[in-house]
Symmetry: C2
Subunit: 549 residues, 2 copies
């Protein structure tokens, strides 16, 4: 049996585009002699379709697309994923389903049993878990078809009380196929390979695994579809962060072979290399799928906006990026020069709008209110917010999308101005700690200076008052980021973090700042997720709580 794996980039709710893409790949696979072509989990609707799933009309459109796809399946079979109505009277209204289509008809249905409902996942919000499982006969093979999480109930840390393959294995299948929507995090590829390899080895079956690729707003899918032999050895690894199709021969003894050059990585990419690739996909798909072409951002001369500008230029083309310098009376000469150097290196559009006249207008008009009270955070924020008004005015006049340039460290502790530098359509590096932003800058400069060296080496400053430095209000980023990673990704207790050797007062202050900034993060743009725990849909905190705050 010749199996094609189609690793494609879908668009949530764009049935026309998704269906056409699937049909094109069915045709191509048939031309190349495939018996079966496998698409990813919920490919028909896009993943995650979220509360669109609560609309009958949306579900009807999924079924209509599946019927169109089925009509294409002559002389070739295919596996697609879509939400379908639960045909039992009890339970949630839908199942997360895989269709096995042959001879123009849906020959078998497999429903997902293990429904992830943690971090960014909400599947039990919509789907009833399956309790019945059976293999699919096709061309002398017996296929155990499962969906993503169905293979993830690990022995060491079982999150679920059942394991679908334990039931399917009793029917003596000779191959496993798993269709998935497994989002990227910089540490996820190794975990995924490990768990799938364990499955192939435990059940003694070859395993074909097809993942989604591309970004859906903040969620990035990295592809990297996988093939294992029946000992758990990885046989092939499809490309990361791009669409691809690959063909494999499976014989009756369970041996897997293929004719094309393997795309298996010689070595794993570093975390920063992966983050870099992921962010480019995230930016590109955000613009492409929302129908925009051009980005705008404020350039301060600091490292964060420099890195975002370089990433945007790489993702969208420098000609589609407008960098705006918005100097105030507190902007240092070197900041302006650093920003100008970056613009020169990138060749992007740029302009300068000094904000002095507008901040003065605000301060003047507020004089009767402020009655000579000393300069404080109110005046600092007026600067940041005046910049946002100007950038948004440019968006409104010319159709740009504003890129947010906040990093994860400042988003954590609330070191940013709501409706000021926290604005934007999408946050590019909001899941990248400041220390990682430095690494990313070095990586972007790997073949020569793009980010000016001075932006990397100078002490970070918001430049909202004279001689301000980030370290006036925050611990050194080396310390801050370690504490934050323990608290946010590690979910460690304050006591545990203190036991690691960090200063108690600092730990308590950082956690308190983080918890108190929840109201700010609630109103920030979606953040491209690159870590296992990003701010946004995967981290749901009370706002008016009182815990370590």
């Amino acid at each position: 049996m010749k199996i094609a794996l189609a690793q494609l980039n879908y668009h949530i709710g764009n049935f026309e585009s998704n269906t056409n893409k699937i049909i094109d790949h069915i045709r191509k696979a048939r031309e190349n002699g495939a018996d079966l072509v496998v698409f990813a989990e919920l490919c028909v609707s896009g993943y995650p379709s979220r509360d669109f799933l609560e609309f009958d009309e949306f579900i009807d459109l999924c079924e209509a697309s599946a019927q169109k796809i089925a009509e294409e399946c002559t002389d070739i079979a295919c596996i697609i994923g879509l939400p379908t109505p639960n045909d039992k009277p009890e339970g949630k209204e839908l199942n997360n389903t895989a269709y096995f289509i042959e001879n123009g008809e849906v020959k078998a249905r497999a429903h997902k049993a293990l429904l992830p409902n943690y971090d960014i996942f909400d599947e039990y919000r919509y789907f009833e878990p399956s309790t019945e499982f059976s293999c699919i006969e096709f061309k002398g093979h017996r296929i155990a078809l499962t969906i993503c999480e169905d293979l993830w109930n690990t022995i060491e840390n079982p999150l679920y009380i059942t394991r679908p393959m334990d039931i399917l294995i009793e029917e003596e299948p000779d191959v496993m196929i798993n269709i998935a929507a497994s989002p990227f995090a910089y540490n996820h590829d190794e975990e995924r390979i490990g768990i799938l390899s364990d499955n192939a080895n435990r059940y003694g079956l070859p395993l074909f695994y097809v993942n989604n690729v591309g970004a859906q707003t903040e969620l990035i899918f990295d592809g990297g579809s996988l093939v294992f032999d029946n000992t758990g050895r990885m046989v092939d690894e499809m490309p990361y962060f791009e669409e691809a199709m690959a063909y494999y021969d499976l014989d009756k003894q369970g041996n897997v072979s293929f004719a094309h050059p393997s795309t298996m990585r010689k070595a794993r990419q570093s975390d920063i290399e992966q983050i870099h690739s992921a962010i480019l996909v995230g930016i590109r798909d955000y613009f492409y799928k929302s129908g925009f072409k051009q980005a705008i951002l404020g350039l301060s001369g600091g490292i964060d906006s420099a890195v975002v500008c370089a990433l945007a230029a790489e993702a969208l083309g420098a000609e589609n990026v407008m960098a705006v310098l918005l100097p105030s009376r507190f902007s240092s000469d070197h900041s302006i020069k650093d920003a100008e150097d970056l613009v020169k290196n990138l060749g992007c559009m740029h302009t300068t709008i000094p904000i002095k006249s507008v901040t003065e207008a605000f301060e003047h008009i507020l004089e009767p209110q402020f009655k000579g009270l000393p300069f404080n955070i109110a005046e600092e924020n007026i600067q940041s917010r005046s910049r946002a008004v100007l950038l948004m005015a440019m968006c409104n006049k010319f159709g740009y999308i504003l890129l947010n340039t906040s990093n994860k460290s400042e988003a954590a502790v609330g070191y940013g101005t709501l409706y000021g530098d926290m604005c934007g359509g999408i946050s590019v590096i909001g899941d990248v700690y400041k220390t990682q932003v430095f690494e990313l800058a070095r990586h972007i400069n790997r073949n020569g200076e793009i980010i000016p060296e001075n932006s990397i080496v100078k002490p970070p400053s918001a430049e909202l008052r004279p001689n301000q430095k980030d370290t006036d209000s925050l611990p050194e980023y080396e310390i801050l980021d370690q504490i934050l990673a323990e608290y946010i990704e590690g979910r460690s207790s304050s006591a545990a973090i203190i036991r690691m050797g960090f200063d108690e007062k600092t730990v308590r202050r950082v956690i308190k700042l983080t918890n108190l900034a929840e109201h700010k993060r609630y109103q920030t743009p979606p953040i491209l997720r690159v870590s296992p725990k990003a701010f946004g849909m995967g981290r749901r905190m009370p706002i008016v709580g009182k815990y370590l705050s």
Copy 2:
């Protein structure tokens, strides 16, 4: 057996305050001769504690509080709710648990089996459902203790495949106790009474039901704890929107009696009366629980900001509300007069900051960019955003919280300026359609004019360009709100809404506008939830989707 029901307002993660409040009520109940005092679901931690539940330290603090509470339980038993570690190796790490405490010790534990995971609920994110049930013996009674949703698997629309009471009833209990955290929506009280009455009737048992009361950021709990006899007849109804404790005698035959005056409502409050009460609680608790006292808002002379100002003055005291008039060159004289009349009627703080000089400064500084392009949404938004900068500067200088004044109709179709009038710490009427805002204004004026009549009767306008009216860009609100309610609350398909008789083009446009405004709503403040489907945590939509958009 004398049972006390304690309907209290908890604060998420505020263990000291919650524990002290529970202990105070145990003492009071004991003084009044109660054998058992019943508190609400997850009262120890507050509900919903969301991802705080993923921190071991948080769970440890819950258990420590429970032990403190247990020490108080001499000569009286109590039922409290808290998250506890799942002691089975498989499944989620926690259970949603009720402790039955007697003689200073936890005598029995009941875990919740039916975990709501729809709308605003995320319980399967944290909790493993219970599969074992047994009754609790106390003072010659056999108590079937369940938690909230455990009684909600209706016969007509079973969302779950099990029903805990069907198992418990086999042990022949003589009373049901249910502890709950059932959030307010204006149509929820009748549904709740109906479902609980059905349970009492079906199982032929008296039922004591204790709900949470008070607001947790956007979620409002309305109390209204209930007592039913074994035929399903409602025996008593505790007050809505306030803390209360009530005492009941239960005899061996299952008869319920009580000595205090019944607080049962003579008639159900109207939707608008309930919304009014709920919003007052929402505002009060948002300020009290976040440690703020004073609110600020921009007053336009229109009905939305007038209603919000009146509600804030009622909730916080007029002396704690600062109304700011921010007229532009497009503000009409009657708008300024209407705003001034309102301020006079309320007696709140007020000031006027004309925005002409700052908008002119913005327009002047943007001249080289805009190059004489015609006035459009860019200049309109500059006005709205300049107002936000001024209001936030007042917040930063004086410690106010900015109230957002957007209504649900405009939040739906995106008729508002991001980082402009969509700013605020909390959205007061973001779950109230414009036509309901008019009703609310009439209700506020029920004993005499507070909202100036002219603010109610004049055609709504954003006043961002000359002679602008909302109906220039939107259908009449009577039509718009009906379509929106069908789409948002009703989750009706576009085809179904058109079949109801609405103009097809209007329906498609309204739904398209609603879906396209998702990116704006993502960045708006939490919205006090008063309907069964509010924007925010209970409605999770893709941003970069392509569905009916």
